[in-house]
Structures are given as C-alpha cells and as structure tokens.
C-alpha cells in the first residue's frame, strides 16, 4: 500500500460543498485539504503537490452570468497551465454540481479533441425553471471513468437550478460512443428515465448526469456523492432500516456515495 494520496479541495467565492467534500476524501483514505483559489493564484500553494483536484459544489460567484462560468474563466486565466499539467500527469480531477458546471464551461469535460481545451457541452437551466432538491437514481454506463469503477446503480441527491446537459448531436453521440457518458438518470428498476421529470430532474439530454473526459480521469457530475456518506442520508433509510431489522439484520453505517471517493483513492494504490 502506497502513501495516502493528497486531495486538494478548492474553496472560495461561493463554493460551499468544500467541507463535506474534504471529509469524503478523508473518509476514503486521502489526505485532503481545502485550499482557496486565490492561494493557488498567488502561488502560495501549487497543484503539483497533489494527486486529486476537486471542484466542489456550491454557487461560485452566485451563479451570476452563468453557473460555473466566472470561476472557470478565473481558473483558466490564472491557473490554466497548472491545471493542464495536472491532467497530463495522469492525476484525477472531479467536479461536483457547480464544479461540473465549471469543468464543462472550462472545456475539461468531455474534451473529446484532447489535448485541445474547448467548451463542447454546457450545463444549463432545468426544464422546470426551478431549483430542484431531490434524490435520483443513476446508473453507471461507462467502463472508462476511474471514479465509477465497479459501481452499478446509485441513489444520490441533486440540488441545482442548472443541471441540464446540452450539446450538439454529434458531440452527444461521440461522448456516448467514446464512453464519456458516465452516469445516467434511471428509474427505480434501472431503466432509462427517458427524460421523464423527476426521474430526470432537469431535462438533461439522453438522461446524462455525469461525464468524464477522454482519459476517464476527469469527471464531472450533477448529483452529490458527498451528501451520501452515511446510510442515514438516504431518503428511505428509516424504511430500509425497518426492513433490515425485521429480518434480524443490522443496518450499515456507510452511504454508497463513498464509493466514488474510494475509487479515486484506490487509483493511487
């Protein structure tokens, strides 16, 4: 077993899921730190010292102008070379919710024409026109992504107003063909949501909930795995516990969201 990988969890400017994302990486066995984006820009900290870079959820810059857009611009303007180098070094990047919006607008996912970095998808307003906080079922439909290895189906919460993945047909086809469409919204049986509201909470094209880049090492997703670190996070946990108890079993402690972070840590071992 190697040394613990180091995870840098970005903070600042309205990012707000940084604490629980740091905790998720710690639980999974990483050494995780919250680092302010300005400390990277001021060169007080350098990305080189880390193996995992996380863009957490939140409302960077208040979603003003367009979700993720201003932070994507800021990071690209000031840290573009470091980020590109980080990815070239075969390290891992994850963007969750607002972090996914950043990765998409930055052009880091799906990045089908690597090494070129160019925005080819966007994440835009939910069809409902509303912020939606609800749990969804997602299914792993790719072998490629490091973060979802061994994961089949997963229940996770979403909480966003802009989660609809949109791209031109060719890009959608390519990212599906090339194994970059990692997570899809499905129904309770694992069948495609088919755009049906609430199962697909935002009207995302082809039910896409998460996308990786062509290497499988950069991953963005709308649902929040860091909000399902405990069994008690699941909206049906009291019911599930009741079932387990009546069958004489003991309910688990962990929530399935941990697997995403454990996969990231396992990649370095």
């Amino acid at each position: 077993m190697g040394a613990k990988p180091r995870a840098l969890v970005l903070t600042g400017y309205g990012i707000n899921c940084d604490r629980e994302t740091r905790f998720a990486f710690e639980l999974a066995g990483a050494l995780a730190e919250r680092v302010h984006v300005n400390d990277l820009i001021a060169d007080k900290t350098r990305l080189e010292g880390y193996q995992i870079l996380a863009f957490p959820g939140g409302f960077s810059f208040g979603d003003d102008i367009g979700s993720g857009k201003v932070l994507a611009n800021k990071v690209q303007t000031h840290l573009g070379d470091q980020v590109a180098g980080f990815i070239d070094d075969e390290k891992l990047v994850i963007g969750i919710c607002n972090g996914f919006q950043v990765l998409a607008k930055y052009g880091l996912v799906p990045r089908l024409d690597a090494p070129k970095i160019r925005q080819s998808i966007t994440v835009t307003f939910n069809d409902s026109g509303r912020f939606e906080d609800r749990w969804v079922h997602v299914k792993n439909t790719s072998e490629k992504c490091v973060f979802t290895k061994g994961i089949g189906r997963l229940d996770l919460p979403v909480a966003h107003g802009e989660g609809k993945v949109v791209a031109d047909e060719q890009t959608i086809r390519r990212l599906e063909d090339e194994g970059c469409a990692v997570l899809r919204y499905v129904d309770e049986k694992g069948e495609p949501a088919g755009g049906r509201f609430a199962l697909n909470p935002n009207g995302s094209t082809n039910d896409i909930a998460g996308i990786c880049d062509s290497t499988g090492r950069v991953f963005g997703l709308m649902p929040h795995p860091e909000r399902y670190l405990y069994f008690t996070n699941h909206p049906h946990w009291t019911r599930m516990r009741d079932e387990i108890r009546r069958q004489g079993g003991r309910p688990p402690e962990a929530g399935a969201g941990r697997e995403i972070f454990e996969n990231a840590v396992a990649y370095f071992r």
Binding site: N16, I65, V70, Q119, F125, D133, A159, D168, L229
Partner: protein, 999 residues
C-alpha cells in the same frame, strides 16, 4: 462611453426564464401570450476597446452552446412588445457586481469606483397585447421601489434602435454637514422631529424635507434633551440619529423591557426569568453557555462543540419588496451566529412565513387614500419571499430542512417572515472558550465585507413603527449572499488563527450599533467616519454611521495582529478597513476629518433610555361550544381538511430549498414511499463523523390566540417540544427560542394578550425544563392604509408567537419519522384526547370564520406539562430502544391529520376504532378526530415489539391501541357509536393534501 451587450438564447433552446414569465402572466394576470423571450442585458459603464468588448461578450457573458450576443440591440428579433427591467440607482445589483469583477479579472484592467456594470433583463412579448396589457405586465415584472421598467412596441424599438442606454448611476451632492439639532423647542416640535425626522432642508416650493422617522417618544426626547443640557449643548444630528437607533424598539425591546402593570419587564421576568430558573434546576446538566447576551444563544452540544441558534423576523421590508426583504432577512440572520462568541460555522437555516390568502380576489388595500399604491398581493409576496429565502440559503450553502407557512387573511397587510440560523463552534479555540469575546483598549475597529450606501437608512426605527404611505424607501435593500459567504469563510480562518479579540455583526443601526455594543466590552470607542468605505460619495455623516448596508461585520483587532488580519482578508477578496479604535474613555466618540460628530457617554447611550410604564387589560373572549351537526360524510370532511391551506403539502417550497448541502441530513422535510409527506421535525448531523445530532421543530398557532394567548403560548411550546420528541430527540435536552410578532402594542388589550403569552412562556418553559436561549420581538405588525373606497383601514396581524426548539439527539441512527412501515403493525394513540376544538383547523373550516368573530369558539387545548413530559420521556426511551416504527405528532388537524400522514407516507391503510383513541368524555366523533389536544402522538409498532414497547412506555403514560396498519387502500375508522364513520381512500386524502399548493 458606455456599451450595451445583449445576450439571448439561440433559437430552439429552452428559454426557462421567458417561459416562466409567460405562464405566470397567463396564470396570474389572465393575459395569454404566444411567447415570451428573455434577453440579458449588460451595460458596461466604462471605456473599453472594441476587441475587449468582444472578448468579454464572448468569453464571459455568452454560453457558446446555448446563447448568442450582440453589442447593441437585437433589432432582428420578432415580437410585439419589449419590456426592460433594471435596478434603480444605488440598489444592490449582485449580477452586475459579479460581472464587473469578472471583466476586471478577464481583461486585467482596472475600474474606478464610479465605473460599473449594470445588469437588466428584457422580455420580448409576442401576442395580441394592448398597451394597457403591456403596462400591466411591466408592472407585474417589476417593483417600483427598487426597479425601473420601460416598454416599447416593436415599431418604436426599431425606430430607436433598441431600448436605449440606461445608466443608473448614483449622483449625490457632496454632504459632509454635521448639524446641530435644536431640542430646546416645544413638545409639538419635538414630536414632529420624532415622526418625520431631522430637517434636511426645503424643496423648491418651500416645504420641509425631513429624513424619516426617529421613532422616539416624548419622554425619550426629554431625556435626551436633558442629557445634552448637562453637556452644555444641543446634540448633533449624528448623535440624535444614533440614539434613536440604539434606543429603538427594534434594538432595545422597549416594550418587553417596560414596567407593565405589576410586572417589572416581561423579558426579565418571564423569558430570562424562566431561563434562570431552569438553569438552577438543571444544575450540572445546565446546557446554557451564553444566553441573551450575544447575537445568538449558545448551548453545549458535546465536550468538543457548542451550538448557537437565532431566529429573526424581517417583516416590514418583506411587505414592500418581498424578495429583497426576505433575502436580506435570511442573509442577515446568518450574521448572528457568525457574530456570536468568536464566530460560528453556519450549519442550518429555518424559515417561517405568515401570508394572506394567496387566492385573494378582491380589490387590494392601498397605502394612500387615492388608491395609487396598492399593497402587494399575498401571492406576489409569497413568491418573492420564497425566492428570497431560496437564494439567500442556497447560495450560502446552508441547508434549509425546516420551515412552516401559515395563512390567515390578517397577514395580508404585513406578512411575517421568520428566518433562523444554527451555528456550530468548537468549544475551545486556542484553549479559550469560544463563546467569550472581549474588545480591549487599543484594539482597532475593523469593518469588513460590503461597503456603506444609502440602503437601509432607518431600518431599525422603521420596523418599530407600523407601515404607512411615508415608509422610507431607503429601508429596502437586497442581500448579497456571495459577498457574505466570502466574508464568513475568511472570518473563520481569522478566528482559528486568533486574529481578533471580538466580533459582532452590523445589523440594525449599522456600525452605530455594532461599535456601540462592542465599546461596552472595552469601555469606549473612537470612530473616524471618513475612513469608512462607501459605495458612492455624497453620503451624509449620519448616514454613514447608521446605514444598514448589508454583509458587514465589525472586528476588534489587536494592533499586533492587524497586518496579518488585513492581509488575510485581502487574499480572500474581502474588503477590510480600520475605522477607529476601542478605548476605555467611557465615551462613544465619532469624528469626521477631525471634527467631532458624536461624543456621548457610553452608559447614557446604552442605559439612559427611560423605561416605559405601560398598563394592560384583558377581556376573556365570549363564546360557546360548537353546535353544528357532526357531518354525515366524515370522509369528505376529512379530505377537505387535508387540503386546507394550513394543513396541505408545502412540497412546492421544500424542493426549491437545498436541504441536503453539508451532507448532514438525517430526518428530511419530506418522507414516505413517495417522499411527499411532511415530517414533524428536522434532524441534522452537524459534525460529520459523529452520530450525535440536532433535532429542530417549531410551534406557531396564532388561531389559538384569538381565544387566549396564554393557551396559545403553552401550546406553541408543547408543539415545538413534541415535534423534536417525535423524531427521537431527548425531551430533557431541549432549548427554546421565542419570537413574538405582535400588533398595536400601544393598546392595553394587546398588551394584555402579550402579558398572558409571556406568562405562559415562563410557566411552561420552567415546567418542561426547557430554557429560552434567545429571542426577538417585533411589536407593531400593523398596516395602516385605505380600502377600495378610500376609507381608512387598519389590518393587524393576529398576535403571533413562534416557539422554535433545538434538541439533542444522542444517536441519529435511532431516529424515526412519520411513515407507517408494514401492514399488521399496531396503531397507538399516545396521550389523551379531549373535546378541545377551540382554535382548531376543523372548527375554522366548519364555521368558515375566525374564532375571534362571534360564533362557536370552543375550548382551547390545555397543556399539562408534568403529564406530557412523562409521555415524552417514554417516547424517547422507546425510540432509542428501536421499539417504534413510526411516530406522528398530533398537531394541526389533530388525530385525523396524524393518522392521514402516517398512512399517506407509508402508502398503506389504517383500520381503527375511534372509541379506542384515548378520548375520555368526548361525545362528538368529529371532536375525537379533529380536536387538537396537545401532548399526543400516533405511533405504529411492529408486532414483535409490542410488548416491549408497552413496558418501556411505562404505566404513567396513557396509550391506547386503536387499530392496525392494513394493506388496504383506505383509512377506515369506527365511530363512538359503532359503525364506520370514516372510510376514505388514502389516495384521495393525499391528492387533496398535494393539490392546494401544487404550483
């Protein structure tokens, strides 16, 4: 030269904002539009090269996949009317500020203080629409207090080449006057000064211009005059404004502090007195660490962590600008825990709204006799407030798992908007207790966060008065959650590096109150107003001192730590400025470029306020028991009841509030097989990695106050405690918060109601051993205006008390919720059902009028704390032992609503017998089902846990097995005389429950 950039969605892309307007216009205004398209408009008020403009438009303002832009206007667009809505000068433009910073970042240019980016939004309407319709839509899309709106036909639009360039620059004449205010005048003139404010000058036709209310009474003005006689001079305007802020009802709670009849301060006697008594009783188990002395009450969570909680109201501003009022309220209450002790991390928000009828369809009352300024429609207020709390909470990354909405026509003039925040702090920081702080002589006064503008002038004195036509519009402001998030994050870093010795938030009264309060810690302060950063020039010295511009905190920074503190703030993009220093001179000194603006004795400032002497009266309501026939079809009545505004599902609101962020959610707002039935309380795990939790609930029952506010307050306390017990909290570790929202508190009858409510607070907090740890009151929730005929009209809210509970959950994995689990489980009623229909939802429905009107009144539910506490302890033991499958607190809608929630959530039926429901001496079946007797639960228990459950609950707890969970589709209940009186499909109940607010 300024430049305008328009951005729209490409053809074929869903334009959610435009579509939302189209549907709202159709639904709320009855105007059918073929389509509405939205256009974002960025107006950059700075010289830029064409290439720079292009770069900004393309890289920053446009999403290349979904949007397109034009520099100038989209003259190719097809539409019939264009409407553009933007902000008035000086109103917080959050998107504009972000855009400005992003332009600076992208281009690497600088902007001067007066160079801004303004954001507005254009709506392009297509359809057969008259000019009147267009104007109506325009007025619906904008709020004249904060926004400008313009509309044009397509013809005019083309002729003008667009909407034109609007630059809402703030232009104020220079103002650095410090005026002497002559108090040696007649009492009549003093009262004019109080009501209309300090004389500013005269306008062109010679009439006086005044600054707006000081809201000081004559006795207070005399005390001030006498004090300055002692100083040998008149006060300056800065001093007078400052005293008015500090002594306002809003800040000093003059009514709760008054001598009321024989009671020496309701606050001291009933609220703080209750807490002192409870603390004595609890001895070493006393959870209180810092109560009533800081921005929020602090209690022990465990040996490593402390928790603080504060609930505030933001009523008057929300009546005028619902969105701005509510977002300012929630972001504002966030600063209370942030400014408590050395500061806490914010782990949870709660909300509570009291609105008028959203379906109100009569002419709206107006603020003026001519009918020119109608109040906002309850639905407009609802939607604006809901959205304000959404943006304030979601953008701050604080979960909002708890809330309530109450509807009553008497909230139409002035809505109530409660907002609360829980903070978490390490018990010790660097070996020192985190809840303690002390500014020391020599510490620098540092203001950090937002800048000071004209917004929020007279906020504190304004909320101490009723709303009327002259309510100052400067009181309206818009919170900026991101500026505050940056500030809060940076503060916690500074706290952990021990860079400051004290902190408080700038709330009501701005720095005048924050510096004034912190000065008490060191014994004095000296502030230089010219050092305070301002949004724009031209602010008068008094305005800088009392402005309530948001997102600011005040710190006491030791000189040795100053550089590090300022450097940290700078590196977090937070503006922080030294504005003075703390002294031990015993005086609050304010200067402007060397001139003295204020020099007042600190003791006088804080304790010179004369006590009010008030007297009250109380007339018990007259009434009789309900005398109508028990409905023949109870099923239909039941269904109707579940769809009532005050009982129905609030899923519409819940889903738009992030209640999962921070990863600690345990018991969520909604539960059940379809996740659509409300729970009684929220449970969070505030410290990830620990199984200890916090449960929070609310009690608010204004209808009970129509009969007796004593009974109302007792039931509010019981409801708040019962709610947290229902999910598994320890009834012996509950703390409470009180929020009184009263009306006409200068009338003896209203004061009599207040006194009775406060006395019940003492009686029941002590009986339950649940201390009040914090509270707030708002005493004049009255609207004074005119009806449709121009006749004077006063709408007063019903006396309203919110009791909020916060309780320890020892192990969150043992929590339960409301859903029935399995057919065959036993259904118990815990507690005793009495004929107590007074103030109930059922009686309200059956009589079609308020309990305060003549007609059936009924008996209010009584609270027997000793007996109920035994029940709650039994519940807690049984829940921790894993013996209960589900529990529902019997609250609004009584046993019936609790059974319905149990069944609806479980997706199962119930077969039961109302003669076995723990009702003794009740002869009416409807009373058994819908009486709101307190201290009760509906509990379900698995067959193999039944015996253990009954033993664990103990002999002292009244419990009755009333039925079973079934796999049938119905709730079937036998009546008191035998025979089924209810046989209704659970699906029908649920459809009614979900339909009412399914917007």
């Amino acid at each position: 030269m300024a430049v305008r950039i328009e951005v729209r969605f490409k053809e074929g892309v869903v334009d959610a904002a435009g579509e939302a307007v189209r549907t709202a216009v159709e639904r709320d205004l009855g105007i059918d539009l073929a389509s509405v398209r939205s256009v974002e408009v960025y107006t950059i008020d700075r010289e830029l090269k064409a290439s720079e403009v292009g770069r900004v438009a393309e890289r920053l303002f446009t999403d290349p996949l979904t949007q397109e832009y034009v520099v100038g206007s989209f003259v190719d667009a097809q539409f019939d009317w264009a409407i553009e809505v933007g902000f008035l000068p000086g109103v917080t433009d959050n998107v504009g500020n972000t855009a400005r910073n992003a332009v600076i970042d992208l281009l690497g240019v600088t902007f001067s203080d007066t160079e801004k980016v303004y954001v507005s939004r254009m709506f392009l309407l297509s359809g057969d629409v008259t000019e009147d319709d267009a104007a109506f839509v325009a007025s619906h899309l904008s709020n004249p207090l904060i926004q400008r709106v313009g509309w044009k036909t397509r013809g005019d639009f083309l002729e003008d080449m667009g909407m034109g360039l609007a630059l809402p620059r703030v232009i104020l004449p220079p103002a650095d006057r410090i005026d002497e205010v002559d108090l040696e005048v007649s009492d009549e003139e003093l009262m004019v000064l109080s009501r209309r404010g300090v004389l500013e000058g005269t306008d062109e036709d010679g009439s006086e211009l005044r600054r707006g209310p000081l809201a000081l009474d004559l006795e207070q003005l005399h005390v001030i005059r006498d004090y300055f006689r002692g100083e040998g001079r008149n006060p300056t305007d800065v001093e007078l404004e400052s005293l008015a802020q500090t002594w306002s009802e809003h800040c000093k709670h003059t009514i709760f502090a008054a001598q009321l009849d024989e009671v020496d301060s309701l606050y001291k006697t009933c609220i703080k007195g209750a807490t002192e008594r409870v603390r004595q009783m609890k001895g070493k188990d006393d959870p209180c660490l810092s109560v009533f002395s800081d921005n929020a009450g602090v209690i022990r969570f465990n040996s490593k962590w402390s928790v603080c909680y504060k609930v505030e109201t933001h009523n008057s501003p929300s009546a005028l600008d619902p969105y701005g009022g509510a977002i300012t309220g929630i972001v504002g209450v966030n600063r209370d825990p942030l400014g408590t002790g050395k500061g806490s991390h914010l782990v949870m928000n709660m909300y509570g709204f009291c609105f008028g009828d959203p379906d109100y369809d009569e002419p709206l009352p107006t603020r003026d006799p001519e009918g020119m300024t109608p109040i906002l429609h309850p639905k407009v207020i609802f939607e604006g407030v809901r959205r304000g709390v959404e943006d304030g909470g979601n953008k701050s990354g604080i979960p909002t798992p708890l809330g309530f909405i109450v509807f009553d026509e008497r909230y139409m003039g002035k809505p109530l908007v409660f907002v609360g925040t829980v903070g978490l702090m390490p018990a010790y920081i660097g070996g020192l207790r985190s809840y303690e702080k002390k500014a020391r002589r020599g510490d620098l006064i540092v203001m950090a966060g937002g800048r000071v503008g004209k917004d929020g002038i007279h906020g504190a004195t304004f909320s101490s008065e009723g709303l009327h036509a002259g309510s100052p519009m400067g009181a309206v402001q818009i919170g900026d959650p991101i500026t505050q998030k940056k500030l809060g994050d940076a503060q916690l870093e500074a706290r952990d590096r021990k860079l400051y010795s004290s902190v408080t938030d700038c709330g009501a009264g701005g720095i005048s109150c924050s510096c004034g309060e912190m000065a008490l810690e060191s014994g004095g302060c000296e502030v230089n107003l010219d050092q305070v950063p301002v949004k724009y020039s031209g602010l008068a010295p008094y305005a800088v001192w009392i402005s309530e511009s948001q997102e600011r905190m005040t710190y006491a920074v030791p000189p040795a730590k100053l550089d590090e503190f300022l450097e940290l703030m700078r590196s977090r993009d937070v503006e922080a400025t030294v504005v003075g220093r703390f002294t031990d001179s015993g005086r609050c000194v304010v200067k402007l470029a060397g001139r003295s603006a204020m020099d007042v004795d600190l003791t006088f400032l804080h304790e010179g306020l004369p006590r009010m002497h008030l007297s009250s009266s109380w007339t018990p309501p007259e009434g009789r028991e309900p005398d109508f026939e028990v409905p023949a079809d109870m099923g239909e009545t039941f269904e109707q009841l579940m769809g009532r505004l005050n009982l129905c599902s609030r899923e519409y609101v819940v889903r738009q509030y992030d209640h999962e962020v921070q990863g600690g959610s345990v018991i969520k707002p909604l539960t059940g097989v379809e996740l659509d039935v409300h729970n009684d309380a929220a449970v969070i795990r505030p410290v990830l990695g620990s199984n200890e939790g916090l449960a929070l609930a609310c009690g608010i029952l204004p209808w009970y106050g129509d009969i007796d506010t004593y009974g109302m307050a007792a039931a509010c306390i019981d409801t708040a405690i019962r709610g947290v017990v229902a999910v598994g909290a320890d009834p012996d570790e509950v703390a409470l918060l009180d929020n009184f929202c009263w009306c006409s508190s200068d009338e003896p009858e209203r004061l009599g109601q207040l006194k009775r409510a406060a006395q019940a607070c003492y009686d029941y907090a002590t009986a339950y051993g649940a201390p009040f740890i914090s509270g707030k009151d708002s005493m004049f929730n009255d609207f004074k205006g005119y009806d449709a005929d121009g006749e004077p009209l006063k709408i007063s809210v019903p006396p309203t008390l919110l009791v909020s509970s916060i309780a320890k959950v020892h192990d969150v994995t043992s929590c339960i919720d409301v859903q029935a689990m399995k057919p065959g489980d036993s259904v118990y009623v815990i507690g005793v059902t009495r004929d107590e229909l007074g103030g109930s939802e059922y009686l309200g429905m059956m009589t079609g009028r308020r309990a305060s009107s003549p007609g059936p009144v009924g008996t209010l539910p009584a609270v027997n704390a000793q007996a109920f506490l035994e029940i709650y302890r039994g519940m807690h033991r049984a829940i921790r032992g894993g013996l209960i499958a589900s529990a529902a607190s019997c609250g609004r809608g009584g046993l019936g609503a609790a059974l319905a929630r149990t069944a609806m959530a479980g997706g199962l039926g119930i077969v039961g017998d109302l003669s076995q429901a723990g009702a003794f001496g009740v002869t009416r079946t409807d009373a058994v089902l819908f009486s709101e007797s307190q201290g009760r639960f509906v509990v379900t228990v698995a067959p193999d846990r039944k015996d253990a459950f009954e033993i664990e609950m103990g002999a002292a707890v009244p419990l009755q097995l009333m039925g079973q969970i079934s796999d049938g589709p119905n709730i079937t209940l036998r009546g008191l005389e035998g025979g089924n009186v209810v046989d209704v499909a659970v699906a029908r109940l649920k459809a009614a429950y979900k339909k009412t607010l399914d917007w």
